[in-house]
């Protein structure tokens, strides 16, 4: 193994100076290296995960008991709103972009991303978006308090003057993810190593390619929606104001036209990660590669015609309700294909339970559970009862926390040794997994019950009969929050040192990323590899 490493070092040494990373802060500020930028995205995402998590702790502390005890209702609303915005746009999406930056060039045998300068920009505008958003919390009047979905007229007529800051923050986040997506597409289309045909692409690359197309299709629509909110609020337009001939329900149509594809933006790369990890630790090829590609594409296409399942209670005509109900249920077919393929991959494999695999198996089970509650919500008449209750909160946390976040954790543990050259502390990582697994269910499972019993979401107080369940939920919440600190410790320790790992960290792993040394050298695949 050491020979590979030396060879890479030799290669690097032959190049001139500018190929070596600069020192200190400037290295990170000016970097155009995909690995540096990938790391920046991942560190940023982890930071946001902790900040958004702290807000969740405030929410759960307030909801520990019925009644209002810790925070003002207006501040509570700011917490639910900014928690949602940070987790979606600050934690999950940048984490996937970070993984794409790190892994896509390595997986397709490209020397870097196609547009490295733009890559630098798309990362470095992101912290400003979140500084603006977070700063608005400290201004007179406070930050956004209208929910991450910023429905008009809450965000127009009834919001405070800091709403402009929210709008600009979302604009910047949108521009950042559009640039990131464009970069991914150009890289995958133009920089594949010779012989890397479409149907040889690793699934993580495929799912990201499709996600990137979703991103460039719907992030501009989000930008349009916030722009209309801005002009309605400050420039006397009436897009969403009935007094001037507009319609607040139209806001919901525009928002969810973005919003539903957005939830798939947060899960398709997760599918890619799980499809990479499960074969490795089952020591088998992925079952049904081609069907995975087609399933992902059809999920992406269908995601454009289901948006109004978020709006069943807005008074749509029956024909509309039925259309969106059936279209939504149709999505569970390709989703079912994926789950089937993962299980079939594990079937009769020689499975071992390394930490990435543990997270992947938990993903498969718990994400499917979230899919089932989604199906329940898709039943129009039932949704009239479930809508805007904790049942919805339970649904989307199962698909997003035990889905998207667990896949990110799985991916992080899977590639961390490749990034750092060191094995992480396995005992601590297993503690992190088991504590997370138990606490996440204590946290989110009872939400199904209080939701079915009618507890509304986004309210700082609740009826007495929900008290016991909410106390349990909050305890689960604190436990889950604290468990994530273990993850921080594991990552930090792994970056500092640990047992050295070979190029091919996991014996069942396949793919070009395992052919470069560990840690991956600063420059890789400057001459494209040979694809068999």
């Amino acid at each position: 193994m050491s020979s590979v490493t030396e060879q890479q070092h030799d290669q690097a040494a032959h190049h001139d100076g500018h190929h070596h990373p600069a020192k200190g802060f400037k290295r990170w500020l000016y970097t155009t290296n995909h690995k540096d930028i990938g790391s920046l995205y991942l560190i940023f995402s982890l930071t946001m995960f902790l900040i958004g998590g702290a807000m969740a702790m405030v929410i759960r502390a307030e909801l520990f008991q019925p009644g209002l005890q810790l925070v003002e209702p207006h501040f509570f609303n700011q917490m639910t709103t900014v928690h949602g915005l940070i987790m979606v746009f600050g934690a999950v999406m940048p984490a996937f972009t970070g993984l794409a930056n790190w892994m896509v060039p390595l997986m397709i045998g490209a020397p870097d991303m196609a547009l490295p300068r733009m890559n630098n920009w798309s990362f470095w505008i992101l912290p400003f978006a979140f500084i603006i958003l977070l700063a608005s919390l400290f201004m007179p009047g406070g930050g956004p308090a209208f929910g991450w979905t910023f429905y008009a007229p809450l965000s127009t007529t009834y919001s405070n003057d800091n709403t402009a800051l929210f709008v600009f923050a979302v604009h910047i986040m949108g521009i950042s993810s559009i640039m990131g997506a464009i970069n991914v597409i150009v890289t995958i289309v133009n920089l594949r190593a010779p012989g890397m045909t479409w149907m040889k692409l690793p699934l993580f690359v495929w799912t990201w390619l499709i996600t990137a197309f979703l991103l460039i299709a719907v992030m501009p629509v989000l930008a349009g929606a916030v722009t209309m909110v801005l002009t309605d609020k400050y420039f006397a337009t009436s897009f969403f104001d009935a007094a001037g001939g507009g319609d607040p329900v139209m806001f919901q149509h525009i928002f969810w036209f973005f919003g539903h594809p957005e939830v798939y933006i947060m899960i398709l790369p997760a599918f890619g990660i799980i499809s990479t990890i499960v074969p490795t630790f089952s020591r088998k090829k992925l079952f049904g590669y081609a069907s995975m590609v087609y399933a992902t594409s059809s999920i992406a296409l269908l995601s454009f015609i289901v948006w109004a399942h978020h709006m069943f209670t807005t008074g749509m005509p029956v024909a509309g309700e039925l259309f969106f109900m059936y279209a939504t249920m149709l999505i569970s077919v390709p989703t079912g294909v994926k789950v089937f393929n993962w299980v079939a991959t594990m079937w009769r494999g020689s499975i071992s339970f390394e930490v990435p695999m543990l997270f992947s198996i938990a993903f498969i089970v718990l994400f499917t559970l979230g899919g089932f509650s989604g199906l329940m919500l898709a039943i129009t008449p039932a949704d009239f009862q479930y809508h805007d209750t904790y049942f919805v909160v339970a649904h989307f946390h199962y698909v997003l926390v035990t889905g998207a976040i667990f896949s990110i954790m799985a991916g992080a543990y899977y590639w961390l040794p490749k990034w750092t050259g060191n094995m992480f502390n396995i005992t601590l990582a297993k503690w992190h997994f088991w504590l997370s697994l138990v606490s996440v269910n204590v946290l989110f499972f009872p939400m199904h019950f209080v939701g079915l019993a009618g507890m509304p979401r986004r309210i700082p107080d609740y009826a007495l009969q929900f008290a016991d369940f909410n106390a349990i939920i909050s305890i689960g919440g604190f436990a889950f929050g604290l468990s994530q600190l273990l993850f921080v410790v594991v990552v930090f320790k792994c970056a500092r040192g640990g047992d050295k790992v070979p190029a091919k960290v996991w014996d069942g792993a396949e793919g070009l990323e395992w052919e470069v040394a560990s840690p991956a050298p600063y420059h890789t695949f400057e001459t494209p590899p040979e694809i068999k």
Binding site: A217, V221, M228, A243
Partner: protein, 175 residues
Amino acid sequence: MSHAPLLKRLVVICVGMFAFAFALVPLYDVFCDVTGLNGKPSLEQAKQSTSVNEAREIDVSFTTHAQSGAPFEVQSHEYSVVVKPGAMREVLFRAKNTSNEDKVMQAVPSVSPGKAAKYLHKIACFCFDQQPLKAGEEVEFKLLFYVDTQLPEDVEELTLSYTVFDISRQIVASN
């Protein structure tokens, strides 16, 4: 390999989708107009009716309410009227500005059940225009309408609801 051609195409998609978000606004109205969904009746003067169906009778009720904080009282003289499809009918509304400032009022109509919206035709309506009302002023407004003879059989009664808004601020802002 040159990235420019692909890059250009992707940027065009982005710009196009940004424009599409705004295109959704008229598309949404067109869609509601064509299908009559959303109970969103037309704000344009309708054509005169050409025939009357003497055999049917439709119950039309009126409700009005002021959007929170709008200082107007608007009330129809009759609570409800019975009309034959195709027959013209006039209804008077009394509107009062209850504040001590000059205001501009905009009434927004809505019809329920929603699918009946495109069968209620207004020849004259105070909702077609912005209505300036002086402080404390009280005026009579006229609504002239008929129900289309094509109104689906299962609709026997419908409600025309007006929400009135105070748009004085918007008017100042846009001037």
